[in-house]
Amino acid sequence: MIFRILLVALLISGAATTHAFDLGGLVKEITKKPTEDSASEQQQTKQPGLLGLLGGTPVEEEIAIGREISGRLLGAAPLVKDKHLQRYVNQVGAWVAKQSGRDDLVWHFGVIESDDINAFAAPGGYILVTKGLYKKLHNEAELAGVLAHEVGHVIKQHHLKILKQGQLIDVGGGLLKQKVGGDDKGQAIGKMIGSGAEILARGLDKNAEYEADRIGVVLAARAGYDAYALPSVLQEIGHVRADDSSVALLFKTHPHPEKRLVELGDAMDGHAEQFDDGKVLADRFYRLKGMSKAF
């Protein structure tokens, strides 16, 4: 009986999660671990998550991981205390994210208290933009472009893939052989993510950034916005002095905006006709104190 259930679990995991973390025996091992509420056979038939660690579905795990990472980032830089701003950013973000097709996620967007120029995406649809970057924007299309770039990271699971690689190393080190479940669940996520929000300081492969740029312009265009707004933001950021501390982390974790502009410009060149006629919506753009109304 147990054997049959395990077989079913394996089949489900194989069939339903094409992107699943293929650990073979380990998945079996982990899904067998007792969880908080029960160690019943039912648990074993549950589709194991991407990382096969927490006993939830892949989406549940993705959200739990993203919630933890963004909560830590918020610990370092809280939300700007302006509910109109936060609501506005969520309206733009939700509309852009809707174009990504990942409607299994509830998307969350926020502007955080930091003069740095940066934006962060965590798995599960958590996206945070610094006030420093927000103040560089001129219109709603530019905000949409920035958020769409981050949505690109989420739908391509760029950070999850990094965590997955970390897991592989940890498996070798025997870390996962410990019992996982119940009260240890949070701890397991913690171990996976590492210290604080360092995963966000590590940066992704440059090709992941170029890919997110390409996804960003398409999502913005799908949403009806001017697709060229994201390149415009890149140009603006490219003008910030490289030794300015506000871009230190951004420039460390991303290719220089100039390089991104060239890559993105080249990719968009052959598809100009699909990017026409987008809206800029400068009038509706929510401006913070001291933001200019220039174009």
């Binding site: 909560g71 609501r87 969350h108």
Partner: protein
């Protein structure tokens, strides 16, 4: 065929958000192209520091006027604003990074007071803040509300394919 393409291109430009003409200057010597494409014809070479008038933008390209000639230059080769008085003199490599590192002496200086950075160390030390995440989640907007918001802005969703990286 080429003419038709060019006409389509011009027609498209009419829809691209026009910029108010503003001054800029060349930060890295660059060709002035007749069309906003890599394989377009070069009309002239613009020297580093050359002042330009930025007319409009299309993709990664800006349409500029310089010394009576009009054409297209890559966004990344241009910096907005007035050219510094001694553009090349202080710059050794003459690249964008030299200019970006402040040798050009223009703007974007962040005030030293009240700066709240987010460096690696701070991120590493960051502690989970449950209240802030709850607050973040409380602002979530439903799909229906997002659609209404889009409608209010006359945003029309379009079906478009993702684009591949340009062939090297």
């Amino acid at each position: 065929m080429k003419t038709v393409q060019w006409l389509i291109c011009v027609a498209l430009l009419a829809f691209v958000a026009p910029l108010v003409a503003e001054p800029g200057y060349i930060i890295r010597s660059s060709d002035l192209m007749d069309e906003p494409y890599r394989d377009a014809t070069s009309l002239a070479e613009l020297e580093e520091g050359a002042p330009v008038e930025i007319l409009k933008r299309k993709g990664g390209w800006l349409q500029v006027e310089s010394a009576g000639k009009s054409g297209w230059v890559r966004m990344s080769k241009i910096r907005k604003g007035k050219a510094p008085t001694q553009p090349a003199a202080e710059s050794e490599a003459g690249g964008v990074l030299d200019l970006a590192s402040g040798r050009a002496g223009t703007g974007n200086v962040v005030s030293a007071t009240g700066v709240r950075g987010l460096n690696e160390e701070e991120l590493k030390e960051a502690k989970f803040d449950a209240n802030e995440v709850d607050k973040l989640e409380s602002f979530a907007v439903s799909e229906q509300k997002a659609a209404r918001f889009a409608q209010a802005g006359k945003l029309i969703a379009r079906e478009l394919e993702f684009i591949p990286a340009a062939a090297q």
